[in-house]
Every structure is written in C-alpha cells, then in structure tokens.
Symmetry: C2
Subunit: 380 residues, 2 copies
Amino acid sequence: MKRLDDLETPALVLDRDVLDSNLARMRERMSRLGVTLRPHVKTTKSIDILRRASPSAPGPITVSTLKEAEYFFEHGVRDILYAVGIAPGKLAHAADLTRRGADLTVVVDNLEAASVVEAVAMREQVRFPVLIELDVDGHRSGVTPESGLLLAIGRRLSSGRGAFLHGVMVHAGESYNCRSDDELRVAAERERAGAVRAAQRLRAEGLAAPVVSVGSTPTATFATDLSGVTEVRAGVYMLHDLVMAGIGVCKIEDIALSVLVSVIGCQQERGWIITDGGWMSLSRDRGTSNQPTDQGYGLVRDLAGRAPPEDLIVRTANQEHGIIGRRDGQPPDFSRYPVGTLLRILPNHACATAAQYNLYQVVAGLDSTILATWSRINGW
Amino acid sequence: MKRLDDLETPALVLDRDVLDSNLARMRERMSRLGVTLRPHVKTTKSIDILRRASPSAPGPITVSTLKEAEYFFEHGVRDILYAVGIAPGKLAHAADLTRRGADLTVVVDNLEAASVVEAVAMREQVRFPVLIELDVDGHRSGVTPESGLLLAIGRRLSSGRGAFLHGVMVHAGESYNCRSDDELRVAAERERAGAVRAAQRLRAEGLAAPVVSVGSTPTATFATDLSGVTEVRAGVYMLHDLVMAGIGVCKIEDIALSVLVSVIGCQQERGWIITDGGWMSLSRDRGTSNQPTDQGYGLVRDLAGRAPPEDLIVRTANQEHGIIGRRDGQPPDFSRYPVGTLLRILPNHACATAAQYNLYQVVAGLDSTILATWSRINGW
C-alpha cells in the first residue's frame, strides 16, 4: 500500500479517525437537541465523506452551488437545499434537476427573486419549494424576522403556482467573530429565536412555513436549545480548521485536514525553512489574522501529524513556496528539517484549502499508510 | 453562438484583445532588449494561451509544478524550466519526463539538493540541466551572488555525472512591493546585476554557466538594460490584475481577466449589492490591501467590461456571496442593479483567481459573444 512518503507534494491529507469523531459528535448533538442535521457539503464536496456523515442514507444535504447539487444527485441524494439566493440565470438548471427527480429547495430574500422563481417554475412546469432567507446579525443577505418584507415575500409565494413557501432559513455568519463561549451561545439563541419568530409571523398570516432551518458550525456547536427549529445546517465541523479552533469551536486535535509539503531549502540567517507548500496549496485564506492567535498560512505538524518540538507556522507564502519559521521569530533547529523532510500544515480554513484539490489522501492516526483516496469536486 | 448572458455564474471571462495586446507588448519589449522571453505559465496554465504568447513555437516555458510540465509537454513543449527548488520526492517524475523527451531544467539553492539531483539522475540514467537559484532581495529562496555557497554548489554540479550546471536564475519577488517607476527600475537592475555577477563568478572558477535567467512581470516591464541576461521569465503580464495596476506595471484597461457574477439581492440600508461571486470565485487574495488603493475583493465592471457610473468594489466576500458597495461607503443607485444583473469583477491577483476555474470564456472588447472556450489545468 502507498504511504504519504510516496506522494508528490503538495497533497491533501485527511485523517479518517478525526473525521469520524467530528461527524459522530455533531450527529449526537443534533439528535440530543431533537433536530435534523442537514450537512453542508460545501466544505468537503465528496460523496465518500457524505456517506460517513450520514451513514443511514446520503442526505438530506445543503449545497452552495448547483454543481454540488448535480454531483450529489448523481450519487443518489434527492433532498437538497441550495442555500444561496437563487440567481435568475440558474433557474432553468434548477428546474431540470427537479424534473429529473431531485427534491431541490431554493432560497430568496426579495420580491423580484420570488416572482422570477414563480415565473420560471411555471414556464418549466415544475414546483419549487422556497425558503425565505433571514438576517439576524447583519452578516450578508436576508430579511429581518420583524420586517414587512418577510410577509410580502410569503404572500407572493402563496399563489400555489410554480413555487410554494416552505419555510425560513438563516445563517448566523457573525458567529465567526465570537470570542467566547457565552458569545457563541448568544449567537446561537439569536439565530434560533429569529428563525422561529419569522416562521410564527408567517403562520399567523395563514402561510405554511413548516421548515425552520438554522445553522453554522459555531452556533450548531454551542446551541443549548433548538425549540421550534426543524433542521440545522453545518459543514466545516466535519474537518475543522484553525479558524474554528481560534473561536473555541474545536481543539487543534480535531482538525482532520492537512497539506503535505516537502522542505526544499532554508535561509538560515532569516530563520526560514522553505517548502513547496505555497498559497496555491494552502489557499490565500488568512482567517486567523484577526483572531487572538495569528497562525500565518497554517500551523506545522510532522509527517505523523504530531506537533514538532518547536512552535512553527507558515509565516509567508508565494504561489508554490511556503516559508516556515518559529512563531517567536527565533531560528529553528535546522538540523531537524533537511531537504526532503515531509511536514503537514493544518489549514486556516478547510473550505478554502480543500478547494485547491481533487483528491483526499486518507490516513488514520499516526500511521502514514494511505487507506483510500477520496474524490471531491470543485468549480461551478 | 453563446453569449456571456447564457452562462451560469460565476464564470471566468478572458478578453482576447486585451490578452493579445499584453502578449505583443512584452514580446516586443524582450525583442528590443535582446533576450529570450520564457513565459511563466503558472498564471494562465493553458495551451491555448501559450500558443498566442509564443506564436512561432510553443516554448520555451517556465513552470511552477510538474503537473504544468506534464501538460505542456503533452502539448508539444520540450524546453521547460521548473522554477521551484526541486523536492527530492519529485526527481523520479522529473527523470521520467526527461526520458520521454522533455528538456527539463531543475533548480537548486543548496548542496543537499544538488547531491540528491545528481544521485537520482545517475540512478535513473538521465542528465538534468541545473540552474542555481539566486537571492538578490531577501524575498524567499536562493543563495547570494557573492556567497561561497554559490561556488560550492557549482563545483558539486561539475562532476559531469547525472546533473550539469547550466547557469543561474533569480526572481526579484520584492518588486511587488515597489511603489514608483524608479523603485521598479532599481529592482530590475538589482536582479540583472546580481544574476550576471553570479554567472561571472562561476565562469571565473572555470564552471560553465551559459544561462542567466531573470524575471518577474514588474522587473520585466521596467528593465531598461539586460546586458548579460539570456532570458526573462514573466507570467502575470499576460492577464494583468489589480495588484499589477496598483504597482504601476499596467493600466486597469490592461486587465484581461474578470469574473462574471449575478446580482441576487441587496441590503439597501447598508448600501450593499449581493452577488453570487464570493471568495471561492474571486479567490481569497487581498493583494491590494497593502497598496495605496485597496480594491477589496475586486473592482466592478458592467457586462461589457466598462466602468459603471459609480465606483464599486467587492467590499467583503463569503464563500459564494460577494458584497458590492461604493468605495466611498455611500449607497449605490440600486435601481441600476436589479436581481439578475450581470457584472464583471476585475481580480486582485490573476494567478489566484484563474486557479478557481477549469475554463476561460473568451470574448473580445465590448461584445459579449463567446468566441471560444479555452481550458486550463490546476493542482499538482
């Protein structure tokens, strides 16, 4: 069997044991809270990983692109929520998926989009379930739970032709900026309360809103009560990353993903170890730069995934060069890192890093044996 | 014929006229300076684009990965410089390329790598031409032109077995931080002088160093004299981007690449237009953030590539959401950007943005007709 040492670098490594532990923890959590887990596949984009995330049946899922919807539908997943406000130019494609048997839910947050969804659905002779996107923290899209617009969109979707109101969804994106467990619990309750309130207002108008969908990995991890919520969406919990660890959502040991790199030289005077793991392999994501601990372009581990004796991070990166140094700026013991040494870099942001690869090299624990190679998709 | 309006967004758009003009300008410049242009294909990674960059014959080229080397070799390119210090684990692959007929040059900047190159070449029964990488500006890898190590590596490569010294190469990466034409001219001369000096020192020791390879798009654009240099490497000049415009290397009108996005909603109170062009489509690169003009995640153009009446940038981005606003923070005229409006986003960094796609949608000038679809590769 191949081992990590047999790979050309950079390569994307996934620790199956850590993955499975992350998956089980979130499943148990959602089960305890009495809600359906609708995993967001935008992080992992892999049917192999989804089958482990949802072992009883692959789905329901959340997607961020119609390409993900196509890929998972081809692999037998029917219940799909496309959780980005639908662009009119994508509706014909969405209708085609629906005609082929997908149970595809789309999202709107304005009257124009609601009207276009209805018009295209009628033209294409399909019926789209529609969720209204809510805004509870000023993060990006959505209407506020108390707005008149919420009810206006609900009524617009109540003609019974083409589209039908299916409920509400919200993503508490600002939870990524929380700095304590208490703040995370507050963010989770704000997300829950806003979604439930919006659904209640729609129902009070006589509009059906059976689905109350909330989620983000931070709020899913810290919610203590999900009364009134029907489903939770989360994605990065499967792999975790340094940003999640920085928020306090996971421990460093829960990070399942790493990038395998080779040492190609050093600059001893500057305290630099040079590798072939540049920003193309790690992504340009610097999500820890505004956290209490800035991890540079990633935190360094040895080939077995263990912390080296010195606290090393990827300090800077060019396209195909990574520059590793000690966090404290002191020179590392260069004798430990001769040319050809393999290292593993824990990523700032799993979604961004994984997107640079088509394959996961799957290992388990300290063993470098490659147990499987799992594919993933990218693009649109 | 298909038009940009027929595409699902996000999509990568390439203006062929701007590309051809960028290509011609650099070719003429290098011809005038009397050096060979060895285009760096790490930006564009497309045989279709290389054929326009080097119309007489596809090559010589510079690559940043062996995957690029494989791809271009399969398309008929023989003369390939792999311009990243070679990792020992890649040498068997490099030898295989050589055996199949590629004229592949590798790069080292230390004695360990030089020894490994020689040893693997002997084992694999090939001969690698080797360039010694130089450091003239403390940017990343390389030995200084005045160092004893330069000569030691040169001597190590002079056994005549397996590897042979072919010359020196340098990349003045710090030129990206220049802020004036004068600084750029100084950086270009520092790059030239360092490379020529290193080659002279090697030759004075009786070592052959016929190749003197320099390059970066900024220094290639501002060099006024390249005496002693044999070839220039540059890549991003083909497409240009906002970082290059910020340095003064190109005008905004020279940027050939853009990302087509759809408006999916707005948040009027916050002055935000929401699109489906998030950081996955634009890349996480924020290379203009430390330049005099911070372009956010990109500068907004209309469907035809023209500047809109208001100065709009992508202010923030989520994975599949882009948030556009006026640079001055004032609310835009929302009536101009209804749901479904198509916009084009000029990227901070062409290398990073193009890497999120497998295809270029090729247009010319103000016309939205798609004239061709060119493929590109990614990964390792």
